[in-house]
């Protein structure tokens, strides 16, 4: 059958519309069908579906019905709603859905520890904590590589910074 629109190409898209009991049929080629955005709604494979799938997967053991009831107290986003949209409602969602999101992030991102830019407003405290995390990874690598001199140096640095951060934290509290 030829496309009824261009009458040139083979019709590969067949659509039946029923509006108010009136039935209309259309036979179009892909090109002409694509030009008409009024009815073509091919659900595409989206990242939302993927996230939803991953969340289901990571929750095969701990009571999924409990997770389904989870809700962000800040914006009211429900876990089930997030699963459908693949979008969070506010920054607090990351805390309220933390347990569910953790494994997903590790699977999508391969990590759950940010090592990039830090907003200056967040202060130097955060920056130093970052530094600490970086040194710790470096220390692990140094030990693996048996670079003990470097490892000892790092260990001392880490110790000093940890103490400094501790005393600051204690002072604030």
């Amino acid at each position: 059958m030829l496309c009824q629109e261009c009458k040139e190409r083979e019709a590969t898209v067949h659509v039946t519309k029923i509006i108010n009991n009136r039935k209309t049929e259309m036979h179009l080629c892909e090109y002409c069908a694509r030009q008409r955005d009024d009815f073509i709604q091919i659900p595409s494979f989206s990242v939302n579906d993927l996230i939803a799938g991953l969340m289901d997967f990571s929750h095969s053991q701990p009571a999924p019905e409990k997770a389904a009831l989870a809700k962000c107290a800040a914006c009211g986003m429900e876990y089930s709603q997030f699963k459908k949209m693949g979008r969070l409602g506010c920054q607090k969602c990351y805390e309220y859905f933390g347990r569910e999101l953790g494994p997903v992030l590790r699977r999508i991102q391969g990590s759950s520890q940010h090592a990039g830019k830090v907003p200056r407003q967040a202060g130097s405290h955060l920056l130093r904590k970052k530094q600490l995390a970086r040194w710790k990874t470096e220390l692990k690598r140094a030990v693996e590589l048996e670079a003990y001199e470097r490892a000892a140096e790092l260990r001392d640095k880490i110790k000093a910074l940890e103490q400094a951060l501790d005393s600051e934290g204690g002072g604030k509290r």
């Binding site: 030009q35 914006c75 979008r87 920054q91 992030l105 999508i108 391969g110 090592a115």
Partner: protein
């Protein structure tokens, strides 16, 4: 002038380099569920940074609801804004610099999505410029940030750096040699991905691919950029070798195909988008190898943009589809080539 008419390094293979960063303002619901008053709050907050941004070049702020539909579509096809921003035009806004290199989309998927797009292969400069803009906005706006997770985004796939670096590459010779699948597999191992930017699914119209980083949490911005640079350099070198090989093995047939493509673009009366992109790709490869004297890569890329649906509709000032659009496209391209030839003659 936008990136399209400007020269840039490695322009034979890399059309443009782009860095995008996503940010959200602290304590305001994400665009996914925000109310109109939140949208205004976000837009006005970002707008207040405008005077500080203006030190370097001119920046303009516009609410998308004030921009005509065709103009909105043009912004999308010039890669200055996204379809998503336009879908939310009632609440979205855009800040754009007069050189059309930096844009800040407001209330797209995230509150703030800033892009820097530069001609050719310039990922590092694009990141540096973006970083500067981010620093400026950060002085007045407090971002949603989490010590462990970094910048918080509406979709968890962007959390961390919130950065997506991408490079638009023209890879006709690697496509002809069926190398693209292998390249895709390889780059996915270092957290990168490639997709066709025109066309749907696996087909990449015009053999144009966008390489970008998939992972945003874990590696730092600099790590992501340097990974991208290493991978793209390799792809670039391979494409250049493949082009020379294709030309050598094709001989006169290759030259003939390039000139025929040019001939059709120069004379056709009806040009379907898919067909148009195939010929433009052929012409671009020819120009990169020094065929078709008088035409630069920037000229070809300009033609490519002019032939996209919104480009054609803007020229004619009407919404069109089907054969009418294809005929208008042929007209637009024919006239653009004639004009280019005339201006070249004058210069000689």
């Amino acid at each position: 002038m936008s990136w399209i008419n400007e020269t840039g390094p490695d322009r034979d293979v890399v059309m443009s380099s782009r860095v995008r960063i996503a940010r959200n303002i602290a304590d305001i619901p994400f665009p996914s569920i925000m109310q109109p008053q939140h949208a205004v709050q976000v837009a006005e907050k970002v707008r207040s940074c405008l005077p500080d941004l203006k030190s370097g070049s001119r920046f303009d702020f516009m609410y998308m609801r004030d921009v005509p539909a065709i103009e909105r579509q043009i912004l999308v096809e010039k890669h200055l804004a996204s379809q998503d921003l336009m879908k939310r035009y009632e609440q979205s806004a855009l800040i754009m610099d007069s050189r059309e290199k930096i844009t800040v989309m407001i209330n797209e998927e995230d509150h703030i999505r800033m892009h820097c797009i530069l001609p050719g292969f310039q990922l590092n400069p694009a990141w540096e410029q973006m970083n500067k803009v981010d620093d400026i906005i950060e002085q007045k706006v407090e971002y949603a940030y989490h010590e462990q997770l970094g910048y918080l985004t509406c979709c968890p796939t962007n959390v961390g750096t919130g950065m997506r670096a991408s490079v638009m590459m023209h890879l006709p010779a690697l496509t002809i040699n069926k190398q693209m699948n292998l390249i895709l597999q390889t780059i996915s191992k270092i957290g990168l991905t490639a997709r066709g930017i025109y066309g749907e699914g696996s087909e990449a119209l015009g053999n144009i691919y966008q390489i970008s980083n998939q992972i945003t949490l874990g590696p730092s911005e600099e790590d992501i950029i340097s990974n991208m640079i290493i991978a793209c350099r390799q792809i670039m070198e391979k494409e250049r070798i493949a082009r020379k090989a294709v030309r050598k093995t094709g001989g006169i047939q290759f030259d003939d195909a390039v000139w025929r493509a040019f001939g059709i673009l120069r004379n056709a009366r009806v040009l379907e988008l898919k067909e148009f992109m195939a010929y433009i790709s052929q012409m671009r490869m020819g120009v990169s190898l020094g065929l078709i004297p008088g035409f630069s890569l920037e000229d070809v890329d300009g033609l490519m943009t002019a032939g996209q649906p919104a480009g054609v509709m803007r020229k004619t000032g009407r919404i069109m589809e089907g054969t009418e659009l294809d005929a208008a496209r042929a007209d637009v391209i024919r006239k653009a080539i004639e004009e280019l030839e005339k201006s070249k003659e004058k210069n000689i």
